[in-house]
Structures are given as C-alpha cells and as structure tokens.
C-alpha cells in the first residue's frame, strides 16, 4: 500500500475562504479520529479575511525527522512523511520547534507528536485525503498534475521553499500565480512572512465628521 505517484497534493491559498471544513474533516480520519492536524489561521484579520490552510508539506528531506533523537518519524518510499511512531516518540518537542512550516503538534495528553500524514489510510488505498475531498473552494486539491494544469491555467505549482539559508523541496505543491512562477525558483517564506496579507480595504470616507449620536 502506497500513495500512487501520479496523485499529487496542491495547496492554493488564493482560493481559501477560511471555512474550516478541512480542519473539521481532518478529525474524522481513522488514523487520528477526534484530532485535527490542519492549521488554518487568518493572516491578519484586522485588515483582511485572508486565511491559509497549512497541512504537512511532506519534505523530501524532512527536518522533523532529521532532528528526531528517537528516530520516530519515517518517510515512506512514496514520499509521505508519517506521523511519529508511538513506541518511539519521546515527546521531546524537537520536531515541533524545528519544522519550518510549523506543522507537527505536541499532543501532551498522549505524550506524542502528531501531524498530517496525508490521510495515509485513505491515500494509500487510492482515495483522496479527507480535507481535499470536502474543501468547498478546492484550495486543497488532490489529483493529477494534468488535471491542475488543465483546470487552473493561471497558476503553477511550486514545491521549493527558501527559509533563510535552508532550501526545502516538498511532495506537496503550492499554487502560485503563473507569472510569478515563471520568474522564481522557490517561494521565499521568510520574505513572505514580512509582507503581510494583500489588503483590500473599504477605504471610503463615508463618516460625516460632524455626525452626532455616536456615543
């Protein structure tokens, strides 16, 4: 059982509507029932409704596994970085601190790190992951590269990320505007963190300065 190579995961934050369907559905997966492994946050709610879903990016050289002193995190041959193995995990929190994407969660009540395993119970038998199945905006998409190229011609998948001096390639793809993808080799995450959300303000001067009664 493994995830077929032609089925890929694509994340497109420009489609995300922050509905949390993925978060709710994640807790319905059989490998971690009742626990959601997805992070979904507003980037900066005071100025934008923009939200970003964060699932495990399944790195080719996973930092979480590299820093694990107990060798509890395995990457299977199909490229999926598995959740920590219970008998080995010592709940040291190294992976939680080291993951550049901030994915692993320390579940104190179980003394165990848990994270997204791309719904291995589903994807390894040919199904879609729960989050990408239900996602109402298809910001989370699981399918073939041909499907995504055909249906979303204005965006292109990128799977190289720069965090300071660390460059990471991942199994999961991030959709970026096609014009941008043509110019860059990687997504500079540190720079993106500095830039904040793309604002669209209601910048109207509609308040009458002499207005009474607001008290």
């Amino acid at each position: 059982m493994s995830v077929p190579g032609h089925m890929e995961f694509f994340v497109d934050p420009s489609r995300c509507i922050g509905c949390q369907s993925c978060v709710q559905a994640c807790s319905e997966c059989d490998t971690h029932k009742g626990q959601s492994m997805i992070h979904l946050e507003y980037v900066e709610r005071s100025v934008s409704t923009q939200t970003t879903p964060v699932i495990c990016m399944h790195c080719d050289s996973p930092t979480c596994a590299e820093v694990c002193p107990a060798d509890a995190i395995k990457r299977t041959a199909d490229g999926v970085v598995q959740s920590a193995r219970k008998p080995r995990c010592i709940a040291c929190n190294n992976c939680v601190l080291a993951c550049p994407f901030g994915v692993p969660k320390m579940m104190v009540e179980f003394d165990l790190m848990m994270k997204c395993d791309m719904c291995y119970d589903r994807t390894s038998v040919g199904k879609k992951p729960m989050c990408a199945s239900v996602c109402p905006s298809q910001a989370l998409f699981f399918g073939t590269r041909e499907q995504i190229e055909q249906s979303r011609p204005n965006a292109a998948p990128l799977n190289r990320f720069q965090f300071g001096n660390q460059e990471i390639t991942t199994k999961v793809n991030m959709m970026v505007p096609a014009t941008h993808a043509a110019r860059v080799e990687h997504i500079d995450v540190a720079a993106a963190l500095e830039s904040g959300p793309t604002e669209r303000r209601v910048a109207l001067s509609v308040m009458d300065p002499g207005q009474q009664g607001v008290r």
């Binding site: 559905a25 319905e28 009742g34 879609k128 239900v134």
Partner: protein
Amino acid sequence: MAQAIDNTALLEKFGPHGAFSTGLRLAANVEPDRVVNTHCCFCGQQCGIQLKVKDNEVIGFEPWFDFPFSRGMLCPKGVKRYLQGSHPDRLLHAYQRDPSAPEGFRELGYERAVEQVAGAISRIQREHGPDAFAILTGASLTTEKAYLMGKFARVCLGTANIDYNGRLCMVSAAAGNKKAFGIDRAANPWDDILHADMIWISGANVAECAPITTDYVWRARDLGAKIIVVDPRITPIARTCDLFLPVKPGRDIALFNGILHLMIERDWLDHDFIQNQTVGFDKVAECVNPWTPARTAEVTGIPERLIHQAAEWWGTAKSSFLMHARGIEHHSHGVQNVLGAINIVLASGRIGREGGGYATITGQGNGQGGREHGQKCDQLPGARDISNPEHRDYIAKVWGIKPEEMPGPGVDAYEIIRKIDSGEIRGLLSICFNPKISLPDNNFVARALDKLDFYVAIDFFLNETARHADIVLPGSLHEEDEGVVTQIEGRVIKINKAVECPGEARQDWRIIQDIAAALDRPHGFTFTEPKEIFDELRTASRGGVADYSGITYEKIDNQYGVFWPCPSEDHPGTPRLFEPGSWNPVAKGAGPFYFPDGKARFNVADYTPPAEDVDSEFPIMLTTGRVVSQFLSGTQTRRIGPLVEQFPEPRIEMHPQLAERIGVVDGDWVTTESRRGDCTLQALVVTTIRPDTVFIPYHWPGRKSANQLTISAQDPISKIPEYKVCAVRLRKAERVPDAK
C-alpha cells in the same frame, strides 16, 4: 399563558449542549452496517453525503463523490452534521407544560398529547372561528411534508392562516422572478457558471452561506471570468474579486438602475432580444434616465469610477452569470432590488442559454421545494395561486373537497405573530421554525407568544420558541425520514432514511396524520409512506408551473436528481429554463417565458430608502447575516460541539474609523441600541466593512440575539422583513454582560 420557560433545570435537560464524537463515532476503523446516500440537512445547496450507520446510529460520514453537483465537497456544517443524531438533548417523548416540574415540562404519553392537541384545536376553532388557529412551518421540511402541511391547514383545520419560514428567506426573489419571468426557479444549472466570462454577485456571502458554490466561481475565474462582488463587507468571496463595489445597505436598486442607465447611454444592449423577447423596456429606460453615475454614486456610496467600470464589464460581456441572495432580498423593497437585477440581465439578453445565467442562491435546505407546494399563505401545490378559481377547482378535486370549502389566502408569518398579539389568533402549531430567534424585533415576538391560549410545537430539540409551548411533540430528524427536496438549481433530489426515530419520536407526517385522526377528520390523511404523499403531490402539481408529475423516486436515483418542470415520466427534466423554442404550459409555445405571450417583463423598479434610515439619534446602519459554522436559528448547529467551538459567540463587526469614534478596540464590549432593543457583544474591528455599517450574525438567542435590534418592516409584495438594514447607535459597554 404560554410564557417562556427559561430555568437552569430546563437548560440542563434540554440544552443546548454541544455534542462531540464519543464511543463508536470516535473509534477507528469501525465497519458500518450500511452507508446511506443522502444529502446534508442544512443549506439550499444540498451537498451529497454518505452517512455511515451502525446499530441505528449515524456514526460518521463519507464524501459522496458521485453526486455531480457537489462531488464530495462539504462545508464544516456538512462534515459535522452527523453529530445531531443520538444527541443528549433529543426529544424522546411528548411533553406538557407543568409549572410544578423542575424543568417546567413533564413527560406525557404520545397518544394523550395528541388528544390534548386535537382538543385544544377544536375548542379554539369552535369558540373563535377556524382562522383563530394558525400554523407556522419551515423550508427545511421535505416537499412531501410541506405539501401535507398546506393540505392539513386547508382541508383538516380549514384555517387560512398557514405560512412558513421561507417568508424570511426566499420570497423576494420568488416574487421578483414571477413578475419578470412568470416562474420562480434558478434559471440555470450551476454548471453554467463555468461558461460565464462575467460573474456578478450581489448581496451574497457565497463563501459562508453557500460554501461549495465558491468552487464554481473559482473554476470560472481560472477559465478567465471576471468577478464583480457588491456587498457592504469584503467577504471571503470578495477578497480576490476583480471589482468590489462597497454598496451602502439598502441601496442595491440604485446601483442596478445606474448600471442600466450606462448600458443604455453606451448602447450596451441586446436590441434583438429586448425587441422580440421582452416587454416593458421603454418605461424602465425612462425610470433609469435620472440615475446618472453621479447620482448613483451619491446614493449607493460607491465611487463613480467603479460604477463606470462595472457597467462596462457587464455591458460588454459575451457571457455572464448574475447571482444574488438575501443581501438584496432582505429589504422593505426586496422585490424591487430583485427586479433591478433582472432588468440588467434582460437588457443584456444573456438568459436562457449556457453563457447566460441568472439565479438567486436559495438559502434553506428545501428553500425551493418548500415554496412551491402550498405551505405559503397564498399558494396551492404546483406553484398555484389560492385566489385563482381554476387553480382552486383543480386542487379541490385532488383533495376531494368542494372549492368553496377551501379557505382563501391567509397572512404572512410576521402578520400571524401580530394577529397573535392582537388576540385574533389564539392557537398555534409550529414545526421546523424558531421565530423567537429568527424573526426581527424578537422581543415583540416573545411577548406575542406569551399571549397564546394554546401552542403546540413539533420539533426534535426543544428550541427557544418551543419553550413557550403547552405541548411539545417529538418529531423527526432529517436522517429519520425520506422524501424529496429541491435544491438551489431546481434539481429535485431524494433524502433517504438512515435510522429509525428514537423513543416515542415520530416522523412529522405521521404526527400530523395522528392529529387529523384525533380530530376525527382523517379523510386525506391516511398515507402509509412518503412515496404515497409524493404521488399525490405529483398529481396536484400536474399542469402547474412547478410540474413534478413526471418525477419518480426511481428517476431521481437513476439520474442524480431531476430538474423540474418535468411534465411526464418520459421527460428528462429541465436543467435550463427559457431556452429558445422551449415550451411551457403558460405560453404554450408562444415564447420561452411563462406568460401568455411568452415574453419576459421589464419592471420599473425605482429607488426607495430603507424603512428606517439613519438619523442623528441612530446614526449607524446595522446589517445581519450568517457565519459558516452556524445555520439559521441554530437549533441544530448550536448543539454540535465542534461547530460551536469554531464560532462560539457573535461579535459586532465594525471599521476602525467607527471603533475609534466610540472609543473601543478589538475585543472590547460594545452595546448596540436600536429603537427596539439592545445587544452587548465584543467588537471585531476590521477594515473589511463600510465605516458607516456594523454587522452582527443572528444565530444566537437571548442577550446575544441580533434580532432584538432589527426592524419588522416588510416588503409590501413579498412580506420579507428588512433584516439587512436598520438604524442603531453604539457605545462602549458599561460592564461585561453575564455569561448566560
């Protein structure tokens, strides 16, 4: 008499408690006894879902990928809907009001409860006349139940006074569509969105209220469509749109008229279509003549250059899809707003084809089907008119009564409340409706309910309104019965039963028939299964505009739903209305629209300000709406733990300019006052809303209820209340309110 019971013991017993997964629902790899293909119980989209059932309990779900409309997609409400079953708050017995019981209600045997209901109905109708007993129903009921409720009112009780909660939802769009097209249904299937190069969304928080429609909009965008969103708030669908028009609440018609003005001035018109397929253009042209961009900008609060841009994009588009929802419909001139939207569609000629789409986004689960078959106060099955003698004759024949025995039109849902207040209506039966939360000016609603001589509520949970009841009868959840509903596109689909009713709870249609039997008027109320009701409904709808006669349960299964009209069993259904050359029973071949001449109608729709405009005393506009994790009055969703956690409390959304003026920052407690009530909530300070407008979601009861503030002004035609704009004032709260 029927004062609300609201004590700790009652809340302890009946909730709302938030349910979470436990037991089998939390266990991994449980093999279900069966998997039932059905639909979500919440909004009008009716996404397909597979419920996993074990030991007569819904233990979870699987996405239903094969259902073509939703292809597995679900919003968070759909994902967690299964938690409404096997719920600790579930009504398992009938209850009777009893002030001596700690909870204020005591259990009562079901048969005894039904006898008491029948006794009270007889007494009230004998003493005060048949219309003194009223019925309030809902658009989450299956169409079979909606049909039966209408028949029960007219045939069994002989009361004119039945109306439904679609009155708060779809009626402005329905009335507007009937005036312009002669038929009330989405003109196009959702796949047509993908063929539009221009998508216009007015007053629709698509991402939160019709979440999976987002994917259709994004797919169209990926294929090159431009998106215009008109809303006082930058909702998630507006965040990345191509043009955002921040309309002042209540001014949509001014915008549509301003757009049409520019279309005429720049000759962005389909003259052939207007000439051959419509009537009434000249009068409308005259009406929009004064709506220059400058005047439009002044009234709508939208900058002039954005109005020019929108008119040019809309006017010159080759293909389009215009959709709207409660944002333009919840107004004292909601029908006018809808007619204004339709006018710009008709002027463009883009209707009745793949690249010409128009629809309202229906809100409730059976918002469409629930408004077609006779639970509206002025309507009979098949979208027939209760005042039309031919329509009365036909339905009377189906029902086996004399036409003169059938009551005439009754009054709308809010007028029923007013008549309760005035003492004209003395008794009430409600099902699938929680007016104490969902009606505007709801402190008045509560006072009116207190005056009822007798009130029976049928529900599966004890909702806030049912706390006023004398008798509560335990009805059925969505997954405990079968029947059809009609979703957002006009596609008739089938709800399938997954589990049996628990305890003494009954399927709602059985309860209604039991009451008919106890009244000793069982004639016409002896159905043994929903399919029999559906077959009678098919006959009753035959020849009407909403013709279901060719639809069968089997056909729905075989083709993933059937779009009405479907006038014969060999008819495939009608996904797209108004196609050139299409036949309908009104035009009889004269043209594609549902009028004798087959032509669509332009309707003059001039601007009128909201019923309650701002003034120096109440200077800020309040608008209300929904959040993605809650549904309507929250009877179900406030009992689903993960959904409660997602958005636990309403907050009042306001712009930093306004927050600064009243001296509050994000998270501060703010008291909002209108002429009708006040409400103290925490501020959510964001630049994504007009500075002259605040927004509060309405799903909560008591001190958190936005409808304490809203106004009960109604559209004169559709009778929809003006939820989307009233005048308020704000101040920093003196103290944090009690947690309760």
